[in-house]
Amino acid sequence: MKHPVRLQVNGRAVEAQVEPRLNLADFVRDHLHLTATHVGCEHGVCGACTVLLDGAPARACINFAVRCDGRDVRTLEGLSCDPVMVRLRAAFTAEHALQCGYCTPGMLITARDIVLRLPDADEARIRVELAGNLCRCTGYAGIVRAIASVLEARLSEPSEPSEPR
């Protein structure tokens, strides 16, 4: 039986009728055609489907859409003008932090969380925080460098405005 859901996705009000077993990743991809959210392992391990749920990173593959009624969802598409994401995109490009791109949306959302939540993170901490996002191309070196470079740039300009989390 389908259930009604009303939620915010990337700042837009969305209403839909969903089967309870529909996960949030399939909902944003197949129903809203927001395909930046990638589906990898489908059991919460690989991190490709990571989105922001009420501002905090969450796995879209193991959160069911029916349970997101009244909540605020932000996918990578909804962060295109976010000042931290603008910097991270440039840094990922500069540091060769992606190759095939499958993990990249989840990596970017986790990277943004690291930058905003852990402004003093060193390389070791960045690596620990990235443990929940798997990349099979880069060996992580470029990803870690990209995040470190954004953290470093922000430390030298601490007043840069950012969206509240």
Partner: protein, 282 residues
């Protein structure tokens, strides 16, 4: 994979959840954070006909800091408190930083923002952190069910891997965690192949020299957390012969590799409680 079809009920009260669970006659599962149940549904390891969603039950998010019952000062956490809330210090901690450290080591941040302490305890994965940590802390599980409310010491709560005393219709509503007495040193050491991966061994330790008490719990052992009651293990820092004997008498010496892991975690924990400054850690 996608889950087998199921229906979903958003419960607004504990009574409504318990009623729905009873009516489903064992064919319903409770969902809180869905960070363990979600994967199990996706992998079709479980195929319930109904999910009873308890996230809309407001009281289950409460944290009662003023719990000074007959059993001494404690903090009671509603089942829906997330690992991230404990990690970030957004809820009270009476364990001098032990619970936030445990929370910080659970899976990944994107899991911790959704996963709940109550869900983790009910799931009873032997590698789960809260089972071991709350056994170490001598917590009490607060359960509501068809027969009313009851409190079960956590040491008797876990029956084995993924097994608990919860009967069909029972709902874990909260966890009462005694505050650690002043001067208690603690350690929580776990071994994972990779940060956030399921643990292969966990050893938790509490030591209070003024009271002459020591408590050791070995988790991630394939079954329920095991309490080892032998202060002699900490004689002169760490006595590996005595530690090995204690693990053997608890039946944890079946696999030589895992036995070595448990011993290594126990040695690290012993070092930690002997060098730690009481009242502050790291």
């Amino acid at each position: 994979m996608k889950p087998a079809p199921f229906d979903w009920l958003q419960a607004r009260t504990v009574d409504e959840a318990v009623g729905a669970l009873v009516a489903a006659e064992g064919d319903a599962l409770v969902v809180a954070g869905s960070q363990s149940l979600g994967p199990m549904l996706n992998l079709r390891l479980v195929q319930p006909s109904l999910l009873v969603d308890i996230r809309g039950i407001e009281g289950l998010l409460a944290v009662d800091e003023a719990d000074d019952g007959a059993a001494g000062p404690a903090i009671t956490y509603g089942s829906l408190v997330t690992h991230a809330a404990i990690e970030d210090g957004r809820v009270a901690d009476g364990t001098n930083g032990l619970m936030p450290q445990v929370a910080r080591g659970i899976a990944y941040r994107a899991i911790r923002t959704c996963g709940t302490i109550g869900g983790s305890v009910c799931h009873a994965d032997p590698a789960g952190d809260w089972g071991t940590a709350l056994t170490l802390l001598s917590a009490t599980a607060l359960i509501e069910g068809p027969a009313g409310r009851r409190a079960v010491p956590i040491e008797g709560f876990f029956l084995g891997p993924f097994g608990t005393v919860l009967a069909p219709g029972d709902l874990l509503v909260g966890l009462r965690v005694p505050r650690l007495p002043p001067g208690t040193r603690w350690a929580y050491e776990k071994c994972c192949r990779k940060p956030g991966e399921f643990a292969e061994s966990i050893v938790g330790m509490l030591r209070n020299e003024a009271q002459g008490t020591c408590r050791i719990v070995v988790g991630a052992n394939g079954g329920a957390p095991v309490v080892i009651d032998d202060r002699g293990i900490l004689r002169d820092g760490f006595d590996p012969v005595r530690a090995r004997a204690a693990l053997a008498s608890a039946g944890l010496d079946g696999d030589p590799y895992l036995l070595k892991l448990h011993l290594a975690m126990m040695q690290r924990a012993a070092l930690e409680v002997s060098t730690q400054v009481p009242g502050g850690r790291r």
